[in-house]
């Protein structure tokens, strides 16, 4: 059906079922106690429908639309990051080139030039941004600008482009197709967020990094790691070319680094004293609030898979 590999199609149906069930639970809760305000939850679930619809449509339409979609996601994330931090007015000219780097980076993805894909931002853009800043000539705040602009490019363009590169890797599991590993990564990362939250709510006692994120606890973290590791072992052979053993390992690293991606973005927000990075996704905040863990899990999972299987 739709030319989608069977297991990936089943995976998407599974995600939609989870979404329908969550929506039904929300509707039931809202009807049974009308005094409580569920607006936030309603917005959250509504946004989930939108996000999942957009991701599924761009993934299934064609490889090109999927790559363009992730390029656009990089653009939104980069723009949001550069808009919340303090920049010097003159930096806009260097930032312009980082925006231009987005289509170039995704072009390397589309022609499957792995060598260029992996060095373009860490090396060429890394060297080029300070050159552009030198030509502008403002030395006051130079170090800060050169560092921040490159970090933004690494987080939002380099990291996210790994999801797109997963799509172009040669297919090893015919039943999962090329979108199987992407679905696996996205689902596991989001499921990890939810598990750590739920375990934290149920058993949370000992704060793990109170200065950065007062709501994160050891109990939530460990509960999430165990759940995601176990579940990954069973889902990975279905959606990726990994076997059950490597599936456990993939889940383990996704869970650990998903946590760190989350708290890295939390630290950014603490530093500049904001609660959300934007208002683009109602009920969730900005695009970086939603992508935080994926910024870490995408490159980590990609290179794990690449090392083990390619």
């Amino acid at each position: 059906m739709f030319g989608i590999a069977q297991n990936s199609l089943n995976g998407m149906v599974g995600i939609l079922i989870i979404l329908v069930v969550s929506t039904l639970i929300y509707l039931y809760k809202q009807n049974s106690n009308k005094q409580i305000d569920y607006t936030e939850l309603r917005l959250r679930i509504k946004s989930w429908w939108w996000m999942i619809a957009i991701v599924f449509i761009s993934l299934t339409f064609s490889l090109e639309t999927a790559i363009i979609f992730f390029a656009f996601l990089s653009f939104l994330a980069l723009k949001e990051f550069l808009s919340i931090i303090q920049i010097r007015h003159v930096d806009r000219r260097a930032i312009f080139w980082v925006y231009l780097a987005i289509p170039v980076q995704y072009y390397w993805v589309s022609i499957e030039w792995y060598g260029m894909f992996i060095i373009f931002i860490p090396i060429f853009l890394f060297l080029f941004i300070p050159i552009r800043l030198v030509i502008i000539g403002e030395t006051n705040g130079f170090i800060n600008s050169a560092s921040v602009i490159h970090w933004a490019a690494m987080l939002t363009v380099f990291s996210i482009s790994h999801i797109a590169y997963l799509l172009t890797l040669p297919i090893q599991n015919e039943l999962a197709g090329n979108i199987g590993p992407v679905l696996f990564l996205l689902f596991m990362t989001q499921f990890n967020d939810v598990s750590q939250y739920v375990f934290g709510k149920l058993f949370g006692k000992n704060k793990i990094i109170p200065k950065v994120s007062p709501n994160k606890t050891w109990e939530g973290f460990i509960g999430g790691v165990i759940t995601v590791t176990l579940l990954s072992g069973f889902i990975a052979p279905y959606l990726t070319s990994l076997d059950i053993f490597y599936g456990f390992m993939a889940g383990f690293i996704i869970s650990i680094f998903g946590f760190f991606g989350d708290v890295v973005i939390s630290s950014v927000k603490r530093d500049i004293n904001i609660k959300d990075t934007g208002t683009l996704i109602p009920g969730h905040g900005g695009i970086l609030d939603r992508l935080d863990s994926i910024l870490y899990t995408a490159p980590i999972f990609f290179h794990f898979l690449y090392y083990v299987k390619y």
Partner: protein
């Protein structure tokens, strides 16, 4: 016909740029006056300011929203004048000092009587990017005798980095917008400008 040109211009060109390339974070959206007559007083950093404010309105209402703009700048050549009048629907204002105060604001008063929403920039010019200039007194003289016209202040932050005065390079950044309570009573021009300034300063982060 003019209305159709304006709607198409905003639907096809302006709104995609404002909502997709720039992106807005809007605070207090419910305070935006959807019906005229009303005056919007905003800070001015970029040509994008007008486009962003007008994009807050649904396309069906866009022909009622009219920026008041300097005739010497926006009417200086035929091409820009055609765009200004037909696509944006500006009310040209003569800054040369040649016309009397009554003549100067006549078309503004006509538009307000007609139920339009006017956009004015009390700073007069876009000035230094992302910095507030001193307010001019023109807006005060225009509205001091119109007791029923609400004046709604809007503060925008970020557009001075996207497209500052004197630069052609457009760089996307999110724009933060804060809409204030309408200013209803004031004693004199200083008092009026002070109320505006207080709102702008409270909106700055």
């Amino acid at each position: 016909m003019k209305k159709i040109i304006k709607i198409l211009f905003f639907a096809i060109i302006v709104r995609p740029i404002v909502f997709v390339i720039l992106g807005l974070n809007i605070k207090n959206r419910e305070k935006l006056p959807l019906k005229g007559e009303a005056v919007i007083a905003a800070n001015h950093n970029s040509h994008l300011d007008t486009m962003v404010i007008m994009s807050l309105y649904p396309l069906s209402k866009i022909d009622k929203v009219r920026p008041v703009a300097a005739a010497d700048y926006f009417m200086k050549n035929k091409f820009i004048a055609w765009i200004s009048i037909n696509c944006i629907g500006i009310i040209p204002l003569d800054r040369s000092g040649a016309s009397s105060q009554e003549e100067l604001f006549q078309s503004c008063h006509e538009a307000l009587d007609n139920g339009d929403i006017l956009i004015l920039f009390p700073e007069g010019s876009r000035g230094v990017p992302e910095q507030m200039s001193r307010f001019k007194k023109g807006l005060y003289y225009m509205i001091k005798d119109r007791e029923n016209t609400p004046i709604i202040p809007i503060y925008m932050q970020g557009l001075g980095n996207s497209l500052p005065k004197g630069e052609a390079l457009f760089v996307p950044f999110n724009c933060n917008i804060d809409i204030g309570n309408s200013i209803t009573s004031f004693n004199n021009s200083n008092d009026f400008n002070q109320q505006l300034k207080n709102f702008f300063e409270s909106s700055m982060r």
